[in-house]
């Protein structure tokens, strides 16, 4: 104890075990939450297509709700709004399709190949607090979620949280060392060193959460994007460890990091920006 206290008070010249202990404590909290209770599943609006019928034939939903159609028939069907607001295209037997309903009122829809299959959605407008609730809920999974904080339990919650750290630490590590060189400030170099170390520690966890997410969503993510994203992410985790070791070497020799190192970090930074754009495309774009 005394030993660790004395290390904490000393200027940081070697990686303090306290940093690792803090990190492990944070990880323990995250993992215990993951093992804990799952949040209540939000009610979903599911319409089953079976034996040439939409079931239920009429469904009340709220504007902003996600509605899913599951085709359990032996034929392919479409979900086509008569006013043209949505059209699923052919949904093969055993597949499903979902959309976010934004237009209010009575929306009649039918199956294009089988015009005798008709049904409708009655879409209620949102009022007051519900509007705020919906505004906060971006993902289809949480369309019914409130603004109340819930501990993360799913990979699609862990990965974006960890990505924040990975994305913030690398540019700051780069900037600190760059400015440290330009203005000859040792304090900035110390910051650059530690941020690179934290980056190397946290990114493997970001990567693991990413793989976990990908495995739980098997087949639902765009195949080409995910292959590049998962391997670039893994490569980045390894690269950051190598950069941290390199950076540690300068610290050990008490010299300022070389321009070669700074250029390498800058290239890693560009790769990280590209990696982020791939992740964004998968979450927000088609």
């Amino acid at each position: 104890m005394e030993n660790s206290m004395s290390q904490m008070n000393r200027p940081a010249t070697s990686p303090s075990p306290v940093v690792f202990l803090l990190f492990l404590a944070l990880l323990a909290v995250l993992v215990s939450n993951a093992a804990g209770q799952t949040p209540p599943k939000s009610p979903q609006n599911i319409i089953v297509i079976k034996q040439m019928h939409f079931d239920p034939p009429s469904l009340n939903v709220k504007a902003g709700d996600v509605v899913e159609w599951k085709n359990e028939d032996i034929f392919s069907h479409t979900v086509t709004a008569s006013d043209g607001t949505f059209d699923s295209g052919l949904i093969a037997p055993g597949s499903s399709w979902q959309t976010t309903i934004t237009k209010t009122g009575d929306i009649a829809y039918h199956c294009r190949p089988h015009p005798n299959m008709t049904a409708h959605l009655i879409v209620q407008p949102l009022v007051g607090a519900e509007q705020h609730e919906q505004a906060g809920a971006q993902s289809t999974e949480t369309s019914q979620a409130s603004l109340r904080w819930r501990p993360p339990t799913k990979p699609e919650e862990f990965h974006p949280i960890l990505v924040d750290f990975t994305a913030a630490l690398l540019p700051l590590a780069f900037l600190s060392d760059l400015l440290g060189r330009l203005f000859r400030k040792q304090g900035l170099h110390t910051a650059g060193l530690w941020m690179m170390v934290y980056e190397a520690i946290i990114t493997p966890f970001t990567s693991i959460a990413g793989w976990w997410w990908r495995n739980s969503e098997a087949g639902q993510l765009p195949a080409r994007l995910i292959v590049v994203h998962e391997w670039l992410g893994t490569a980045a985790a390894v690269l950051f460890i190598l950069l941290a070791v390199w950076r540690w070497g300068f610290h050990k020799r008490t010299i300022t990091p070389s321009w070669t190192y700074l250029i390498a970090v800058f290239i890693a930074l560009l790769a990280l920006v590209y990696q982020g754009s791939l992740g964004g495309a998968m979450v927000f774009g088609q």
Partner: protein, 179 residues
């Protein structure tokens, strides 16, 4: 003219299938044979349409006929295998084949819009005939309860095809005469 031909052909098919009501009631193996013949005829017609048409609506419709009637054919095959019923031919099935052959010959002589219109009108008449046969003869005469229920389950999809074909006929009417 085209409409008249379709109507005559349609009526001939109604007579063919309608004669079932007066003739001896078909057996379950014969019912399976008639249903499968009807499915195969429509699949073949759709394949011909895909070869000859350039109209995207007609192509969509033909693809849908292939997909749905193949699914129906498979479900009837599975059920027949489960029930141990082996399909048998009958005079009705033979008549259906004969009329389909005539219709194919006629369709082969047409092209462009005239082909599309004839195909669409034929599909309306054909599905109407099959629905009538199913509701008036095949369903009441089916002895096995599961076969009866499967035939009842197939009626809505045939109804859907007929309505879609009617929409297609209307949509194709807007484009000038094919003759």
């Amino acid at each position: 003219m085209k409409k008249l031909v379709s109507t005559v052909l349609g009526m001939a098919m109604v007579c063919a299938l309608g004669s079932l009501a007066h003739a001896q009631a078909p057996t379950d193996p014969q019912i399976v044979g008639i249903v499968q013949t009807a499915n195969r005829i429509d699949i073949e017609m759709a394949r011909l349409a895909l070869k000859k048409t350039t109209d995207p609506q007609v192509k969509d419709f033909a693809n849908e006929m292939i997909s749905d009637h193949t699914a129906l054919e498979k479900s009837v095959n599975d059920l027949a295998a489960k029930l141990g019923v082996k399909e048998e031919t009958s005079s009705t099935a033979q008549q259906l084949k004969q009329q389909a052959l005539q219709e194919r010959r006629k369709l082969n002589t047409l092209k462009g819009k005239s082909f599309d219109r004839e195909y669409a009108s034929h599909e309306v008449a054909y599905h109407q005939t099959v629905i009538d046969a199913a509701t008036k003869t095949l369903i009441p005469d089916a002895q096995n309860a599961q076969l009866k229920s499967a035939l009842q389950g197939a009626a809505p999809v045939l109804q859907g095809h007929m309505q879609h074909a009617q929409q297609l006929v209307q949509s194709l009417q807007g484009g000038g005469s094919g003759f």
